[in-house]
């Protein structure tokens, strides 16, 4: 069953979008990452032009990060102060990223830049995860246990303007989270990702935050970055497609909840290795698409825009005539769906607890 996307001007298979966003959602729930680095390439493979894939996935990440962050807010596992410092850097990084995006779009190289960025990011993360995952499996098999250092000091820890982060129990320079936010914001704007896969290791190894505060704080930062990315993409390029966004959000929110549940009973080292292999396979597919079969994207069938149905026509007109309102509307939709998903999950979780108590 195909559906026409009025903004991206391509037809996509509804089932493919739902199932892929669901699968990526499950992986996100399992590994605590946004999943944008997998979903954007998948959208490109499904025929959505890279410019639109980036913008709409950013909107989808907003919903999933709001959903996850609300859950952590309810559990009180969130460091706002640290999060806001990262956001401060992230705002400048995002603005710089959008400026870079505009530059490459202007010279007609944006599609190749997005593809190359994905190829390298997937190759770097895939290689690092594969080596780490295989190493962990090897050590577990040989029963080797290495005692790790509690905190390693890098040059970034020597920066001035130190402040106390009570919740994380840290005394650190404000520049550390700001620089990390800057890098994450820049990458998020160009690639349409939340940046959690950079943010989470940076929070663990560079900032040295307690593990229990990391997922919530990372998701809290992602909300702000994805709001800016979504709004700027909607305002500058009118590339947010509400129909696609709604399908993506529905699939991924359900997937994330399932993934979090599966994650409680699965061996992490083996999963890490499997995810690494998946990332590398996606990277290989992008490399094939970019270097050996560039015509597949160019040949995507486009439908006459004048023959649209009422809803599609309305969305198209709204995005052209009132881009600010349209951008805000897409953000509000993501926020509402995200918060609703978190509360629905909490409701069912409480219901389950009550049931278990009753049966005991």
């Amino acid at each position: 069953m195909d559906v026409f996307l009025p903004i991206a001007e391509v037809s996509v298979n509804v089932l493919a979008i739902f199932s892929l966003s669901g699968i990526v959602g499950i992986l996100s729930g399992l590994f605590g990452v946004g999943g944008g680095f997998l979903m954007t390439p998948f959208l490109i493979f499904l025929g959505v032009p890279p410019t639109y894939a980036v913008a709409n996935e950013a909107n989808n990440i907003l919903a999933t990060s709001v959903s996850g962050s609300t859950t952590h807010f309810l559990k009180d596992t969130l460091d706002y102060k640290m999060g806001l410092m990262i956001v401060a850097g992230g705002i400048f990084g995002t603005l710089f990223g959008i400026w870079t995006f505009t530059y490459f779009k202007g010279i007609g190289k944006i599609d190749i830049v997005i593809s190359l960025a994905y190829m390298y990011i997937l190759a770097i993360i895939g290689t690092a995860m594969l080596v780490e995952g295989l190493g962990e499996i090897d050590k577990a098999r040989k029963k080797i246990f290495i005692k790790k250092k509690l905190h390693v000091h890098y040059w970034i820890h020597g920066l001035p303007l130190r402040m106390r982060f009570q919740k994380s129990k840290l005394y650190e320079s404000v520049f550390t989270p700001i620089i990390i936010g800057l890098i994450v914001g820049f990458i998020a704007a160009i690639m349409g990702i939340g940046g959690a896969f950079i943010l989470v290791p940076a929070m663990i190894y560079i900032i040295g935050m307690p593990t229990r505060l990391i997922p919530g704080t990372s998701l809290f930062v992602t909300i702000f970055i994805s709001i800016i990315v979504t709004f700027l993409h909607a305002f500058n390029y009118g590339s947010i497609d509400l129909i696609l966004v709604f399908m993506l959000i529905t699939g991924s929110i359900v997937g994330v909840q399932c993934g979090q549940k599966f994650g409680e009973s699965i061996d992490s080292s083996a999963l890490k290795t499997l995810l690494a292999i998946l990332l590398l396979l996606v990277g290989i597919a992008i490399a094939y698409d970019t270097f050996f079969a560039p015509e597949t994207i160019a040949e995507t069938i486009k439908i006459d825009v004048n023959n649209l149905n009422r809803l599609s026509m309305f969305i198209k007109r709204l995005s052209i005539e009132v881009p600010v309102l349209y951008g805000l509307f897409s953000i509000v939709v993501a926020l509402i769906l995200g918060v609703a998903a978190a509360f629905i999950r909490r409701y069912f979780s409480n219901l389950r607890k009550k049931y278990i108590k009753k049966t005991n």
Binding site: L116, Y120, A123, L130, L134, L280, G283, I284, A287, F291
Partner: protein, 41 residues
């Protein structure tokens, strides 16, 4: 160093999986680096 080079064939035979992964990753990185250079030239 010479000892390491001497032991290399037997190490490769012993760790076939690791060698395969190393070769696969090298090929992947080689392709994307070469492809990037070709795209921008």
């Amino acid at each position: 160093m010479t000892n390491l080079i001497k032991k290399l064939p037997s190490e490769i035979k012993k760790n076939k999986l690791k060698t395969g992964i190393f070769l696969g990753l090298s090929a992947y990185w080689g392709i994307i680096l070469a492809g990037t250079l070709i795209q921008f030239n």
